[in-house]
Amino acid sequence: MTCAKMLCQECATQWDGIWHCAACLGLKRGAKVERSALLSWFGVVIFAAILLYTGARLMVWTAAVIAGLF
């Protein structure tokens, strides 16, 4: 829990695998969720797609080179 106060099992509530007291849960609920910037999403998706595409091509190239050795 966030406040690190001692609580009995009945007073604690589990959220996302972590035990919280009512006050901490209330704070969590009220807290503003920081969303990732659209640009970050765009960058990650494009970069991952480029890596995956290059990976596929590289896999074929590497396999062909190794097969050519035998």
Binding site: A4, Q14, D16, G17, I18, E34, S36, A37, S40, W41, G43, V44, V45, F47, A48, L51, L52, Y53, T54, G55, A56, R57, L58, M59, V60, T62, A63, A64, I66, A67, G68, F70
Partner: protein
């Protein structure tokens, strides 16, 4: 072990990926030294592998979340396991794609493959620590948790596990063929020719099966490793130890 039921999701999503890899290597062995002339065929299979990899990565993410939740609760996690945060999944796809690229580049050096295996484990272990989407943060998290001695130890342990899983699968196939030979109506005598080390496709299937069998343990080990490292950093492990002592007294 409380996350064990979720291993079924992992196995189902990993099977197409591993089987397509087996098909790729089968085509490669078939083509042999002429493989360079079969670029379109191998490229087509490689594209399918990439698509199936995305499904496998999602399955791994779900299972890693199940492991993390089970670690915190000590009970089998419920339906919330499906809700893998989008930022964490996107970060995991990014890091996995980068690690795969590293593996293909360094395939000629044995050490590079070991490093790639270690970083692939770190990628799944640190996946849920990514709360926001970023190009650099997932890699920074991986490097922060990179304790190479432990990671290399895990790579060696799971490499041995892979050999043991292969031996077990081969024995299981042998047992099934032997049992089936006692029943009439099957062409069991021919199966003995198919399920042997001389059959390349059988060996590739056994290897694919061994990877699928070892994967749940590999993911769980890396999730626990990253969580333990984080707990040590924040002092949570000491707090938990004091709690246990207090409860015991």
């Amino acid at each position: 072990m409380t996350a064990a039921p979720w291993a079924a999701v992992l196995v189902v999503t990993a099977l197409p990926y591993r089987l397509l890899q087996a098909v790729f290597f089968d085509q490669l062995f078939e083509a042999g030294s002429n493989a360079a002339k079969y670029g379109n065929l191998l490229g087509g299979t490689a594209n399918l592998i990439v698509i199936s990899l995305l499904i496998a990565l999602w399955g791994r993410a779900v299972y890693a979340r199940a492991c993390r939740l089970a670690l915190g609760r000590r009970t089998t996690p419920g339906r919330e396991t499906w809700r893998v945060p989008a930022a964490a999944l996107a970060s995991y796809v990014l890091t996995s794609a980068a690690v795969l690229l590293l593996a293909y580049i360094s395939v000629f050096t044995c050490l590079g493959i070991l490093l790639a295996a270690a970083f692939a484990g770190l990628a799944i272990g640190t996946m849920e620590l990514n709360e926001r989407v970023s190009l650099g943060q997932p890699f920074r998290l991986m490097f922060r948790h990179a304790r190479m001695a432990i990671l290399m130890g895990l790579v060696v342990v799971f490499a041995c596990g892979l050999v043991v899983a292969m031996a077990n699968l081969a024995a299981a196939f042998g047992l099934v063929v032997w049992a089936a030979s006692g029943i009439g109506g099957f062409d069991a005598p021919h199966w003995h020719l198919l399920f042997t080390g001389n059959n390349r496709r059988f060996l590739l299937l056994i290897l694919a099966g061994a990877f699928v069998a070892v994967e749940p343990f590999w993911i769980a080990a890396h999730v626990v490793f990253v969580r333990k490292a984080g707990a040590e950093e924040r002092g949570d492990d000491l707090r938990a130890w004091f709690e246990e002592l207090r409860r015991a007294s």
